[in-house]
């Protein structure tokens, strides 16, 4: 562990707080410390990753009793929000017991937003300095990699992962251990491990937070995965829209290589691993695994039919393990605490914790990690605080969008649904990567559906016709509903085409593109019906049509 320090300020240096001015704040804190001297000189100022409540950044945590508070709820830690550089001296004064000017900006660590979170994947997030491998090592990074290389066979590693019940956090929820087995048990030959960090769902920023806050955890997870499946090379495919994440990940890889934690003969073992970063160039479809592989190979990011699955035929034809960031970042903890420990968290079918990015019409926006099975109501109303300024049983919430453009809108009356893979699927939505966008009463559902359909139109790769041409037609049909010039026949056509595009598209993007329409039709059908003109409702009967076709 790091040597205990009497006072420590942990300044959030992740994108959320950066955009709110955290760099200037940290510089001001350093300057103020030098200027104030005295007791302030003993205050450690450390940049860390995400402190969760992104909506009120920049955030700073103050540890009083020395050491890094594992959770902000620990009694010895205080948390301050929305700080300006001018307030740096006041913060140092508060830390050294010389003032209390910032009481109004002090957050209550017992608030459900913090108290109900369970940090597993995010345990180092907001605690370690993401740019220092020494700090990461002091917090236990790479300990599990070194241990498994020394003590465990690949089978034993895979066994722990299977016992944990971990399922893919990228959205589909495929059992991770099973995937690892499939790759490991392919005929002898080279294998590759790929981390899918192409987090493209609008409203999702979990993976970015992990990359920016605790990159060594991901690298360790990948290295363990590579060992478990027999891979000696790997790629992290990061979307180009995340420059800070890319920068920190590249730095972390360099540091890990320098420490002999990557490369040849890792930690004195015979295990070799070459890891590279590949940066995307703006294509949502590259989150689809076969498209991602094409992109890593320098091609257009178009998917191909499966089977064969990447676990059988992947990068350059070799078996390839593809896992998402959160999945791989869960691995070190699972090995440290044991698969059974992890499996005890969560529900029967969905084990462990899940990180959500909570945003939209909600009081507390930010990063939330909770056990699987926590109800949406707890996440949105208790943790999120509901819609600002609204009250009532559902706190002004009309619906919660999960799963991004592939998911759906869950209406307020179903807020007591536990968050797990099956429950969300049964409601016509999906877990997706973890974006939770809260929608208030004034949100028009056909408009939401059109928003997502336009996204799919924009992001369709154009390879297969249902997605390329079908999404265009669907978006135009939705225009008619948004502009209130649809007919009941349009409603029928909309549903029929949704089913066709969903069933016949080549990849997940097209297959899931109709979900936002279908789920809003399921729960908010009256809004679509209200946008239809009844025959005979118009005077003259074809007024709407005439309006449309005449100059």
């Amino acid at each position: 562990m790091a040597s205990p320090t009497p006072l420590q300020l942990r300044c959030c240096a992740a994108s959320g707080c950066r955009s709110a001015g955290s760099e200037a704040l940290q510089a001001a804190l350093l300057a103020a410390r030098d200027q104030l001297g005295g007791a302030a000189e003993a205050v450690t100022i450390k940049p860390v990753g995400c402190l969760r409540l992104c909506g009120r950044g920049p955030l700073v945590a103050l540890d009083r009793s020395g050491g890094d508070g594992q959770e902000p709820s620990a009694g010895s830690t205080e948390l301050y929000a929305e700080l300006t550089p001018e307030q740096a001296p006041a913060l140092l004064a508060a830390a050294t017991g010389l003032g209390d000017e910032l009481a109004a900006q002090r957050l209550d660590p017992a608030h459900p937003f913090f108290a109900l979170q369970k940090a597993v994947v995010l345990e180092g997030c907001g605690v370690v300095n993401p740019e220092s491998i020494d700090d990461a090592l002091a917090h236990g990074s790479y300990a599990q990699l070194k241990r498994v290389l020394l003590e465990c066979t690949p089978e034993q590693v895979r066994d722990q992962v299977k016992r944990s019940g971990l399922r893919g956090r990228g959205g589909a929820g495929y059992p991770t251990g099973l995937k690892w087995d499939t790759v490991a048990l392919q005929p002898p030959g080279p294998r590759t491990v790929v981390c899918n960090a192409d987090e493209g769902d609008p409203g999702a920023f979990m993976d970015r937070s992990v990359l920016e806050s605790d990159p060594h955890r991901l690298i360790e997870g990948m290295a363990i995965a590579a060992y478990a499946v027999g891979a000696d090379q790997g790629y992290v495919y990061v979307r180009a829209e995340y420059p800070l994440a890319i920068e920190r990940l590249r730095l972390a890889l360099k540091q890990a290589r320098a420490k002999g934690l990557l490369g040849a003969g890792i930690a004195g073992s015979s295990f070799n691993l070459r890891l590279e970063v590949r940066v995307g160039a703006g294509a949502y479809v590259c989150g689809e695994e076969t498209a991602l592989l094409a992109s890593i190979q320098g091609q257009r990011g178009t998917p191909r039919p499966r089977p064969p699955f990447p676990a059988q035929v992947g990068l350059w034809g070799a078996p390839t393990l593809i896992n998402n960031v959160e999945t791989l970042a869960s691995i070190p903890v699972i090995l440290r605490e044991g698969g059974d420990w992890y499996a005890a968290i969560g529900t029967e079918g969905s084990k462990g914790t899940k990180v959500f990015a909570l945003s939209g019409a909600v009081a507390n926006t930010g990063l939330v990690e909770v056990p699987m099975g926590t109800s949406l109501r707890t996440v949105v109303q208790t943790i999120g605080g509901g819609v600002p300024g609204a009250d009532g049983p559902n706190g002004g919430v009309k619906a919660v969008q999960t799963g991004g453009p592939s998911g759906g809108c869950i209406p307020a009356h179903l807020l007591d649904t536990p968050v797990d893979y099956e429950s969300l699927r049964d409601l016509g939505s999906m877990m997706g990567s973890g974006g939770l966008v809260v929608m208030g009463e004034t949100t028009s559902m056909p408009e939401v559906a059109r928003h997502f359909m336009r996204f799919s139109v924009n992001e369709s790769c154009g390879k297969c016709v249902p997605c390329r041409a079908g999404t265009v037609q669907l978006a135009q049909m939705l225009d008619r509903f948004v502009e209130r010039r649809a007919s009941l026949a349009d409603l029928e056509r909309l549903e029929a085409l949704c089913r066709m595009v969903g069933a016949t598209s080549l990849c997940g993007l097209g297959q899931a593109a109709p979900n936002p329409v279908l789920s809003t039709l399921r729960y908010f059908r009256q809004e679509y019906q209200a946008a239809c003109r009844e025959p005979g409702q118009c005077e003259p009967p074809d007024a709407c049509l005439l309006q449309e076709v005449t100059p």
């Binding site: 191909r304 089977p307 154009g462 390879k463 016709v465 249902p466 390329r468 041409a469 079908g470 016949t504």
Partner: protein, 239 residues
Amino acid sequence: MSVHTLTVDGVEVAVPDGASLLDAVRAAGAELPTLCHLDGLTPVGACRLCLVELEGSGKLQPACATAAGEGMAVLTQTPQLREWRRMAVELFFAEGNHVCAFCVANGNCELQDVAVTVGMDHSRFPYQYPNRRVDASHPQFAIDHHRCILCTRCVRVCDEIEGAHVWDVANRGAECSIIAGLDQPWGEVAACTSCGKCVDVCPTGAIFRKDDTTAEKEAHRERPQLLRAARDQHQWQNQ
């Protein structure tokens, strides 16, 4: 060589290992509509017309790009599949400008034929009328993008058989288009050998010989298969 036994619409067939579901369907004497697939070229599974249902799982797979496996039960003509095929063809017609009346391929067009096969008597989806390009810069051939259905046969035949890779797909989604070189006029692309294979394989009137006018296009869509058999299996036509 091992053999897989499977059923196609209840008919039992045996196909060699490595055969596709499309091969199995044909072996069973059934037919599936196809547009992007062409024997002799690598399948891409893009047009979705040859989707079949695997009984039991209910999963849909493109027959052209899926390997036949032991014990599979394949359904090719469920009412649902027929309806979706028709919708796919409607989407093709609606997204381009397919005016059969004065098309060079009228009467020899796979899109036109497939419309009849799937029973499309009109498109329920509004026509998009994209304003696309016509490139007649090549001395012998021309490409009319209005008629292109993005099957990528031209891209594949030029790459896989001719080895010139003149063509590729540019942009994405509804903006996709076939390009020559750096999106240059075809006639200016030095890589083109003027072999005419892209003309031969084009399912519609998108790529054609400039000598041909309405309904005069002759396509030779069997050529890639002959060439591939000649190269891979040394089967020549004079033997």
